[in-house]
């Protein structure tokens, strides 16, 4: 792991996703920023993917189950070379491929159209079953929001993942503690997250989702040969990297204005 390289990439991804949301005038900065470090690690360190051969049969696949964090997915794919960062500035505009929530038909590298919470992880389970059936070595990753695990289908999918012994499936929960209406614990308590997944047959690990050493350790562990699906519960901060957005549910679905964008970019310090 090249820590400095990952940090630079994460900065660039944060800046680009904020620029895109600013251009769009709407979007979800909070949950995009909280997931930025995990996304960086996945696409620059963990996954076996090739932007020049995006349909490679035995590639690893990532599904953004928390589809509203589309800007972080687009910015990460751009950073990884699937397309240019300029292209994603058309985010949410009529005729753009960069929809408010990702569409697999429109954007190279997007494995599943998501946005309706809980559905992505269910599809990920199906893909993991398919790979097992075919003896395909490709692994399946899916990132969920913490509020998202309030959806019943998540637990239907979790039950199936352990029933079918999907050792090729790694789920990451972006545990930033906030959802649209406020704190998870005020809206609908979700803790203990790890115990819940354990009870559903998962191998679990709780980490700091902004510490690359922690993230590296967790994915290395997930990579080991195993019989059970793996879940990484990543403790994160909504709006991470921008002081006035951090841990503030108000920045779940709001675009920064010109002044706020400039301040945010300066704080992040990316290129």
């Amino acid at each position: 792991m090249n820590l400095e390289h990952l940090k630079e990439k994460a900065k660039s991804i944060r800046c680009n996703l904020l620029k895109a949301i600013h251009q769009a005038g709407s979007g979800h900065p909070g949950g995009s920023l909280s997931a930025a470090d995990i996304m960086t690690y996945l696409y620059f360190e963990e996954m076996d993917i090739d932007p020049n051969n995006p349909d490679k049969v035995d590639r690893d696949k990532f599904i953004l189950s928390k589809g509203h964090a589309a800007p972080v997915l687009y910015a990460t794919l751009a950073e990884r070379g699937y397309f240019s960062s300029e292209e994603i500035m058309s985010l949410r505009k009529v005729g753009s491929n960069f929809q408010g929530h990702p569409s697999r038909d429109k954007v190279k590298g997007v494995e599943m159209s998501t946005g309706s919470l809980g559905q992505g992880v269910s599809v990920a389970v199906g893909m993991a079953i398919a790979n097992k059936l075919d003896g395909n070595k490709g692994r399946i990753f899916s990132l969920l929001g913490d509020g998202e695990i309030q959806e019943g289908i998540v637990w239907e999918a979790a039950m199936a993942a352990s029933h079918y012994h999907l050792g090729n499936l790694t789920i990451i929960v972006d545990w930033n503690g906030l959802q649209i209406d406020g704190k998870n614990e005020d809206v609908m308590s979700i803790t203990p997250i790890d115990e819940k997944f354990k009870a559903f047959g998962f191998d679990t690990l709780v980490i700091d989702g902004h510490d690359f050493n922690d993230i590296d350790m967790a994915f290395s562990k997930a990579r080991e040969e195993r019989n059970n699906p793996f879940v990484i519960i990543a403790k994160t901060h909504k709006g991470q990297g921008v002081s006035f957005m951090a841990d503030n549910a108000g920045w779940h679905g709001k675009a920064p204005n010109d002044e706020e964008l400039e301040k945010a970019l300066n704080e992040i310090g990316g290129k």
Partner: protein, 313 residues
């Protein structure tokens, strides 16, 4: 009396047949494999059968994942839970991505019988036909179910196939020539047209015989494909006969009757009478008793025909 067989029986047999020739065929269920007949496939191809347990939303989510990985997936449960409970998964995961998932749902309509209102769906065709790109097929008997299922399963893209619980008389022979999206005229007629779908086709055939005795020549059309709808056959019927009666074991809101009327109101207006479930829930009982009580028999078709003919053109 024609031989009687349920369309779900034909489904089980067809799956086994196709399982041999299509290596990428995967079948899934939500704990109803004995009833939906997917268990027939499971017996022969256990490694390609996946049970979701009693979790219909995840059934269709997982089916999407398998389909997007190159499989042809037939995923079954009762029509109520497939199209009702899992509607949004079918819309957003399957429909939006045009995944190659066939939602083959059984136990549709009033002929579910004794299980009662909670299990009798009259909304499935309406729900499924609003999803862009979804093919919607409703076979009338076991023979046409086999023929149409083979075509639907081999075609690429999402589809809904409505299958029934009860044994129904065969309208077709095993070698009938049917095409997805093409209505089949079973009886030619000049006075009035009856457009029927699913098990109501047989009722329409009985009605035609009775009407003939009264000197009424009724054209009988089997609209086995609700989407894409054969508009040409509908327009032709409107131009060539006095009026149209639609018949479906489904709500008269949003189903075949609505689909036919949408075409007619734009392109060839005529009077339409709809035989089907009125705006009400069903109840427990024997299928034949319920068909009678909820006005979905040949008698109701005859009454509608006569009523319309009194109105004129």
């Amino acid at each position: 009396m024609a031989e009687k067989k349920a369309t779900r029986e034909a489904y089980g047999k067809t799956l086994v047949e196709l399982g041999h020739e299509m290596e990428n065929l995967v079948v899934m269920d939500a704990d109803l494999s004995g009833s939906t007949k997917t268990a027939d496939f499971k017996k022969v191809f256990p490694e390609r059968f996946f049970n979701a347990g009693i979790a219909e939303q995840n059934l269709y989510g997982m089916a999407t994942g398998l389909a997007l990985s190159g499989k042809t997936v037939c995923a079954s449960t009762f029509a109520m839970f497939a199209t009702g409970r899992a509607f949004e998964i079918i819309r957003n995961s399957i429909g939006y991505t045009r995944a190659n998932v066939k939602v083959c749902a059984t136990h549709a309509g009033i002929t579910v019988g004794e299980d009662g209102a909670s299990h009798q769906t009259f909304e499935d065709l309406a729900l499924m036909r609003t999803i862009p790109g979804m093919t919607v097929v409703n076979p009338s008997d076991a023979n046409s179910a086999s023929i149409l299922l083979k075509k639907v399963i081999k075609m690429n893209g999402p589809a809904y196939v409505r299958l029934g619980r009860a044994a129904v008389p065969n309208v077709y022979t095993e070698d009938a020539n049917l095409e997805i999206g093409k209505a089949n005229t079973l009886v030619e007629g000049q006075d009035i047209t009856v457009i029927a779908t699913g098990i109501m086709v047989n009722e329409a055939m009985i009605a035609a015989e009775e009407l003939k005795k009264d000197g009424i020549s009724a054209r009988i059309i089997d609209m086995h494909t609700i989407k894409p709808l054969d508009e040409e056959a509908i327009i032709k019927a409107s131009l060539e006969t006095k009026a149209i009666v639609t018949c479906e074991e489904h709500s008269i809101i949003g189903g075949l009757g609505s689909a036919v009327s949408e075409v007619l109101s734009k392109k060839a207006p005529c009077y339409v009478s709809m035989v089907g479930q009125k705006d009400t829930f069903g109840e427990s009982g024997k299928p034949e008793e319920l068909k009678e009580k909820y006005n979905m028999t040949s008698k109701d078709i005859i009454n509608s025909v006569k009523g319309l003919l009194q109105k004129g053109k």
